[in-house]
């Protein structure tokens, strides 16, 4: 018998003396359960969320990208999306002030088939964001119907939120009933 065969026999017998078949099955079982349970950990769940800070994640936000012009809430927005400018679809970026004067319309949410009241508040006080320009005009009216037009710069009509215009938000106010 060659030296290699003797070495293999000795090491195999050594492993067999130190371990058991039940121990091997137990370790394999623990590994399988551990891998299956990993996505249940809070860390893994947090990694799957894409919501912006200060904004609760909901089903429709997960179904569509709030930084996309095609996002359902943006059906009548005209400006830079605050979600691309350090804020979110419903919150102004740091360093800007939300104009209290705005215009309000309705958008259809394809996720649940319902219409919602959307307030398009501009964020003011910093120069134009310049990212994610979006101009959609569902039920938008010409400038001579000022309270139904999205062409106005709403940063000009307020004493707290002064010019210049930075970006626009689209906040859900209520279900349109």
């Amino acid at each position: 018998m060659s030296r290699f065969d003797r070495w293999m026999e000795a090491s195999s017998r050594s492993v067999a003396r130190r371990t058991s078949r039940r121990g091997l099955l137990g370790s394999l079982g623990a590994l399988l359960v551990g891998v299956a349970a990993l996505p249940l950990l809070p860390v893994a769940r947090g990694a799957e969320k894409s919501a912006k800070p200060g904004e609760a994640a909901t089903d429709h936000q997960e179904a569509q990208d709030p930084t996309s012009c095609n996002y359902w809430r943006h059906c009548a927005i005209d400006g830079f999306l605050c979600g691309c400018c350090g804020g979110s679809a419903s919150a102004c970026p740091p360093g800007t002030v939300q104009s209290p004067i705005t215009w309000v319309g309705t958008c259809h949410n394809p996720a649940d088939g319902l219409d919602y009241v959307i307030s398009y508040n501009d964020c003011c006080g910093k120069s134009s964001c310049g990212r994610c320009l979006c101009n959609r005009n569902e039920r938008d009216m010409p400038l001579y119907v000022p309270f139904r037009s999205n062409d106005y710069d709403w940063c000009t009509g307020s004493s707290v939120a002064n010019i210049p215009y930075h970006c626009s938000t689209a906040r859900v106010l209520a279900r349109a009933t």
Binding site: P100, I101, V104, V117, L173, A176, T177
Partner: protein, 128 residues
């Protein structure tokens, strides 16, 4: 209730609370306080104005009401919701608007908006 009566009463497009959001809240704000120096508050003025003829007429002739895309029925329902909601008065403390009253006065343009408002506020001893 018969079908004729049901068909005779036009259905409201949205409930008054939603119509306030869509037609008024953009400028007057969620609580009706407006924006100082830019948009007048409606909280202190709605109920007193609704109690006399010239005031009732003025509320129907201000641009946001007169030029609104709402029907006369929707506008009457909206004002009858707004007066107690923002004026803090019970339904028995004001005379409700009818669609006929809304239809009659909203079609008469208000030429001097600021002067008319100033005169009415003076009459009511309310700040401008």
């Amino acid at each position: 209730m018969s079908l004729t009566v049901l068909m005779g009463a036009p259905a409201l497009a949205y409930e008054p609370r939603i119509n306030y959001m869509l037609q008024c809240q953009g400028c007057h704000g969620p609580d009706g306080r407006g924006e100082p120096g830019h948009v007048p508050s409606i909280r202190a003025t709605l109920a007193p104005l609704s109690r006399f003829a010239a005031g009732r007429r003025y509320l129907l002739q201000v641009p946001g009401v007169a030029l609104s895309a709402l029907s006369d029925e929707d506008l009457a329902a909206l004002l009858n919701w707004m007066i107690p909601a923002f004026g803090g008065v019970g339904p028995q403390r004001f005379r409700a608007y009818t669609a006929a009253e809304v239809g009659r006065y909203r079609r008469e343009p208000l030429v001097e908006i600021s002067a008319t408002r100033a005169r009415l506020m003076h009459q009511l001893q309310l700040p401008q």
